[in-house]
């Protein structure tokens, strides 16, 4: 008879096998698009390195790792990112997650899991172009997660995007599919794998039909319940390591105040270090998250993200 610990090892082995068997993301030789690139995960993920896929436990799981929707419960959020005022670059988002299956949380399990869950989100991006015209990207995302057991979940999300502009002849449409899985390896250890834009195409009016650059992230998280949790992520894109990221969240006042910090080493093009920090305030069912990132080598000196979420 395989015990609880033994079954998790089996699942971990299955996860490793799945990772090894994943198709290689498409090469960059096909000039993947630069449009519709959205960091997922919200301010909380942004504050702990920007590539978190294991720790999201609310509706932001839809953009980070759709498998985490199974651990999101009922939540909703609204987000605003002030990226670069010089070009009036900002992002906005509203999202929702809903469990649609029964709760399967095991005794003493620190995360709450459901048999199945849905997620939906609307994203917008605004940018002012060089001669003053506006450029906007909008996306609608719908995701689904299924958890065969309390510690393992799989998810998939599909998104459709449009780009419009006041300038003539700038318009595009796109679609993409994200996939992911997550597993609790032990009482304090979790791992996940997510592939963003595993499938997808982008077409600008008058331009070529282009690939989207698939991005695979492998993350490992550790947590001490009510004290802290941390995550390390490896990101693979365009046939190379594209980023290494990590961060920690400290529950300064458990259930009230969280402080976060992280760093990311982005390696596509000239390597650059992006530090990040943030905080989360929880009052009853409401939570306010804030993140700050500084990327001077990426042309974005100070980025601020703020989001208001609710669990219901």
């Amino acid at each position: 008879m395989i015990g609880r610990r033994g079954s998790r090892l089996v699942l971990a082995a299955a996860l490793a096998g799945t990772v090894a068997g994943l198709p290689t993301p498409r090469s960059a030789a096909a000039a993947p698009t630069a449009a519709f690139e959205r960091p997922g995960g919200g301010p909380r993920a942004a504050a702990i390195g920007g590539h978190s896929i294991v720790l999201p436990d609310d509706d932001y799981a839809l953009g980070a790792n759709p498998a985490r929707l199974a651990f999101a419960g009922r939540s909703a959020s609204a987000q605003y990112d002030r990226i670069d005022p010089a070009v009036d670059l900002w992002r906005g988002r509203v999202g929702l997650s809903l469990p649609i299956g029964g709760e399967i949380t095991e005794p003493l399990q620190t995360s709450r899991s459901h048999r199945a869950a849905l997620g939906a989100a609307l994203d917008v991006l605004n940018l002012t172009l060089i001669e003053g015209s506006g450029y906007r990207e909008s996306a609608a995302t719908l995701g689904f997660a299924a958890a065969p057991s309390a510690i393992l979940a799989f998810g998939v999300a599909g998104h459709y995007e449009r780009a419009t502009s006041d300038a003539d002849l700038i318009a595009a449409h796109a679609w993409g599919v994200d996939v992911g899985m997550t597993i609790d390896l032990a009482d304090h250890w979790s791992a996940a794998l997510a592939v963003r834009d595993a499938l997808g195409r982008v077409t600008f009016d008058g331009g070529d039909d282009e690939d989207r650059a698939a991005e695979m992230t492998i993350g490992l998280a550790a947590r001490a319940h009510r004290f802290w949790q941390a995550e390390a992520d490896y990101v693979f894109q365009r046939n190379t390591t594209s980023a290494l990221a990590g961060g920690v969240e400290i529950h300064v006042l458990p259930g009230v105040l969280d402080l976060r910090g992280g760093v990311s080493r982005e390696m596509l093009g000239p390597a650059r270090i992006i530090p990040s920090a943030g905080a989360g305030f929880t009052v009853d069912h409401l939570r306010l998250d804030y993140a700050y990132r500084s990327d001077p080598d990426g042309g974005m000196n100070s980025q601020h993200q703020v989001a208001l979420g609710v669990r219901f």
Binding site: A28, A29, A31, P32, T33, A34, A35, F36, E37, P39, I83, D84, A86, V87, L89, L125, L127, T128, L129, I130, E131, S133, Y135, E137, S165, A167, D168, L169, I170, A172, V202, F204, D205, G206, G207, D208, E210, A213, E266, L268, G269, P270, R272, I274, D295, D297, G298, G299, M300
Partner: protein, 535 residues
């Protein structure tokens, strides 16, 4: 051996040298080779043509002590005395020769037959060292007069005449026209015949022939025959120009013309226009339209113009037509012969103007570059005319259905750009435009918001700068490309080829450009802008 006081190694060494072919050489021995008689057939009749032959040979390896050359009738008993003997002594190394005039030792001319010339080289002991034989033929007999085939006198209407005959006992014939040789022919030795197609001059052609053999014995010349060439009208191939025209009275390609050239007068030169496709070997389904000429005509070129009207003066409709031309010929007596050759040339009547050009993407209202590229679509046109403020800028050939990128240089201020298409028939489309494009160089950081291949960033400053750097990023901050200019100027134009720093083409989408301007005093100004790349 040792008694002779030779060293012990001398004998083995000599044996070894002998075996290796390196033994000391004895006296050089002459060798005579390569005996030839040139020519091998002679006619020693004193006419100066092949009266003697040159016997030649090569002496090698040393002086030939004695060379005997004897002449005998071929096949005669070698024990009998030769008819002619040459004795040569101490002949030097190299090519040697002597002449034989076909006479015997007594100076008498030998009779016509084949003779054997034998060369014998002997050494100083009289032993034969080398021997060679060649044959020489004596032939002083002239071939008989050739016989010309065919009638003695004739008249023909073709410029080519088959001139043939028999030339017995001859190798070659000489052809004469009016007593002047104009060609030579080899005689077929088996059939003893000759033949050639002679190109005749108009009128009388007095042809004769004379033969000769290898001994250059010439036959008498034949009596000349007279071949009279009667020139009859031949119609050269013709081509209508232009092959597309528009008889609409606009002064451009309103008519087409064809030139019918005949080399002799004709009793009837017919030029008609028919509607339909050119008739090849199928049944002629074309319809007569009009007759441009049906009358006698002198030799020469005759130009016929068709203005696109039928026999009652009405301009015909668009479609395919063709000229059909023929000229009656005549026989040698001058009687008319209906022409068997009908020349045709196709033309197309096209009064339909092509569609007005359209531009595939709207012209920019303003630009910061000194030229603008407009993508123009044309339909059923052959040429595209581009004008700026009424001045012709370019005239380019296009395909029937084409999209053409037209680069229009701009002047400062507003530029009114128009396009007009035309077809090969000269029909012009309506004018498309004007499309107003304003060229200006405002101060600041500029670029096309829809950034494509060939586009550039422009930086216009109020004061000269020392350098400018433009760094391009994706919206996630990934550095893509660095553009740089270190020229001192107040106006910069930095093109971006849409490649990243690694030389790979970038994808479509938005990019942020960070501009850093370094002025002469070391101060730096920075600004940002965004463009959307669409390749």
């Amino acid at each position: 051996m040792l008694r002779f006081g030779l060293p012990r190694f001398v004998l083995p060494a000599f044996v070894l040298f002998a075996l290796l072919g390196l033994a000391p050489a004895g006296p050089a021995r002459a060798d005579v080779t390569g005996l030839r008689a040139t020519p091998s057939t002679i006619s020693p009749n004193g006419d100066g043509q092949r009266d003697r032959t040159v016997l030649s040979w090569t002496v090698a390896g040393g002086v030939a002590d004695s060379i005997h050359i004897t002449v005998r009738r071929s096949g005669s008993n070698p024990l009998l005395a030769p008819l002619r003997t040459f004795l040569l002594t101490a002949r030097p190394v190299g090519r040697d020769s002597l002449e034989w005039d076909g006479r015997d030792g007594g100076g008498s001319l030998l009779p016509d037959t084949l003779y054997s010339v034998r060369l014998t080289e002997r050494d100083n002991t009289g032993a034969i060292v080398a021997e060679a034989v060649v044959a020489v033929e004596l032939d002083t007999t002239a071939p008989p007069v050739p016989v010309i085939a065919g009638p003695a006198d004739t008249a023909v209407t073709d410029t080519s005449y088959a001139f043939a005959g028999i030339a017995a006992a001859a190798d070659t014939v000489i052809l004469f026209r009016a007593g002047v040789p104009f060609d030579t022919l080899a005689v077929d030795l088996e059939s003893q015949s000759f033949g050639i197609n002679v190109r005749l001059a108009e009128g009388d052609n007095l042809l004769a022939v004379q033969s000769y053999d290898r001994g250059y014995n010439f036959s008498p010349q034949t009596t000349a025959i007279n071949v009279r060439y009667v020139n009859t009208p031949d119609l050269a191939s013709l081509r209508a120009l232009p092959d597309k025209f528009s008889p609409n009275g606009d002064g451009i390609l309103d008519s087409t013309r064809v030139t019918a050239t005949i080399d002799a007068p004709t009793s009837r030169l017919s030029v008609v226009i028919r509607k339909g496709a050119l008739v090849t070997n199928a049944e002629d389904t074309s319809l007569p339209v009009t007759v441009l000429n049906d009358a006698p005509a002198p030799a020469g070129a005759h130009v016929f113009v068709w203005d696109g009207r039928d026999s009652v003066g009405t301009v015909v409709g668009d479609g395919a037509y063709f000229f059909r031309v023929f000229a009656d010929s005549q026989d040698v007596s001058g009687a008319a012969i209906p022409s068997r050759v009908r020349r045709t040339s196709a033309v197309t009547v096209d009064n339909t103007p092509p569609a007005a050009p359209t531009i595939a993407s709207p012209a920019p209202a303003r630009t910061i570059r000194g030229s603008v590229i407009l993508r123009v679509k044309t339909l059923f046109a052959d040429s595209l005319f581009t004008r700026r403020d009424g001045t012709l800028i370019s005239h380019v050939a296009t395909a029937a259905i084409a999209t053409t990128d037209v680069s229009v240089p701009l002047a400062f201020g507003d530029n009114a750009i128009t396009f007009q298409a035309s077809d090969l028939a000269g029909n012009k489309s309506a004018v498309a435009g004007p499309f107003i494009v304003r060229f200006e160089t405002p101060v600041g950081f500029h670029a096309p918001e829809r950034f494509g291949r060939g586009d550039a960033f422009a930086v216009n400053l109020t004061a000269p700068a020392r350098s400018v750097v433009i760094e391009l990023f994706t919206l996630r901050g990934q550095p893509v490309r660095r553009l740089f200019s270190s020229q001192s100027s107040s106006r910069y134009e930095l093109p971006w080829d849409l490649d990243d720093d690694a030389g790979r083409s970038v994808g479509d989408g938005p990019y942020v450009a960070r501009l850093r301007v370094t002025f002469s005093d070391g101060s730096v100004e920075e600004s940002k802008a965004a463009v959307v790349v669409v390749k």
